[in-house]
């Protein structure tokens, strides 16, 4: 039982951390390219900013889906229920 909870905690940390890592690198690259483009042609900056926000939101999505699933495991762990159901006939 403790092993289930311990491994779930590790998994939650992994999910959130790796998602954040990937998104951080991606957004850094994106922001850098945007700044380069805006420095090269300042009159295009507003249009580029709109497109950049669109891509930011799309990148966020993947990280957020990971965070959502990780928080589900953190607060309503289905493995614990599964273990309880599996152990109940033995104990009862």
């Amino acid at each position: 039982m403790e092993m289930v909870i311990a491994y779930t905690a590790l998994a939650v940390a992994f999910m959130i951390g790796m998602g954040a890592l990937g998104v951080g690198i991606g957004m850094g690259l994106l922001g850098g390219r945007f700044l380069e483009g805006a420095a090269r042609q300042p009159e295009l900056a507003p249009m580029l900013q709109t497109k950049m926000f669109i891509v930011v939101a799309l990148l966020d999505a993947v990280a957020m889906i990971g965070v959502g699933i990780a928080l589900l495991f953190a607060f309503a762990n289905p493995f614990v229920d599964q273990l309880k159901n599996a152990m109940a006939p033995v104990a009862g």
């Binding site: 926000f53 669109i54 930011v56 939101a57 799309l58 966020d60 999505a61 957020m64 889906i65 990971g66 965070v67 959502g68 928080l71 607060f75």
Partner: protein, 282 residues
């Protein structure tokens, strides 16, 4: 916003769990309707999400309708100017992204944008206010942000999915729809010795295109849900901190305002983009 809201000492996880629970009604095995004992019941109805989403929809339609009915071509009042800004903004985006002809897309985009924005905006109300007020009236659980409920976001994205399929079939016919799913991205050979490989290529295309088609509503709803759920959870966690929560709440609320607007905008953009993909001819 204290951690023990007058109910004796609640533990942190009890407080969090209390704030993450919807007001549910469902039919128990005995056949009668019960409240809040619906864990695992697939036919449970989240009354609070339905109430707030319908309320905000009515607010949107009523205020925009009032501005439209009282619209003057002279100097506009404040409500009319505000509505004009939003409608003009959505109209410019639709004109830029959607190349087909449809009378539905622009009103759909406006509805999606303003409704999702209003629902997300409920997240900025301090976490404890409405649930405490409801607890005084006897309502035990209240989640005020409808978009933190997976059912609401999936409902919207499945409606958009139905519209995508409807527009694809309407523009290209059922044959065109099937052709789009089976003949892309690899064109199967239609004569000669390659005809043997055609069924495999069609099956491969079908798998790829089905996954891409199903990813659209799934990602649309999970993106909105994940962002809003994480934001609400951070608000709840900051509320547990004690007396230092006010500056943290303020800072997070300002950042969350950006996310709220951005997610509503992205939902609208993707709706327009998917319908425009469904309608375009090669």
């Amino acid at each position: 916003m204290a951690a023990d809201g007058g109910q004796g000492a609640l533990t942190s996880s009890q407080y969090i769990a209390h704030h993450l629970q919807n007001l549910q009604v469902c039919k128990a095995e005995t056949g009668e309707w019960v409240w809040n004992q619906c864990a695992g019941n697939p036919m449970a109805l989240n009354v609070d999400s339905m109430f707030f989403s319908l309320l905000l929809g009515v607010v949107f339609i009523w205020s925009f309708g009032k501005a439209a009915r009282k619209a003057t071509s002279g100097v506009p009042g404040k409500l009319q100017a505000f509505v004009e800004i939003i409608v003009g903004f959505v109209d410019s985006i639709v004109k830029e992204c959607f190349q087909g002809k449809s009378k539905l897309v622009a009103p759909l985009a406006l509805t999606v944008f303003v409704w999702v924005f209003l629902m997300n905006l409920m997240d900025l109300i301090p976490v404890d206010w409405l649930p405490m007020a409801a607890a005084r009236v006897g309502i035990p659980y209240l989640k005020v942000v409808p978009t933190t409920d997976v059912n609401v976001t999936f409902g919207m994205s499945l409606s958009v999915f139905a519209l995508i399929i409807f527009y694809t079939v309407k523009t290209k016919g059922v044959g065109g729809f099937v052709r789009e799913m089976t003949m892309q991205p690899i064109a199967p050979p239609t004569r000669g010795i390659g005809l043997i490989g055609a069924p495999f290529i069609i099956a491969f295309n079908l798998i790829l295109e089905t996954v891409a088609l199903l990813a659209k509503p799934l990602s649309l709803s999970m993106r909105l849900f994940g962002n809003m759920f994480a934001g609400e959870l951070i608000f709840i966690l900051i509320a547990l901190v004690g007396v230092w929560q006010l500056p943290l709440h303020f800072a997070w609320a300002i950042f969350h305002l950006l996310i709220v607007t951005l997610q509503a905008f992205i939902f609208m953009m993707l709706t327009i983009a998917y319908i425009s993909l469904a309608v375009e001819e090669h």
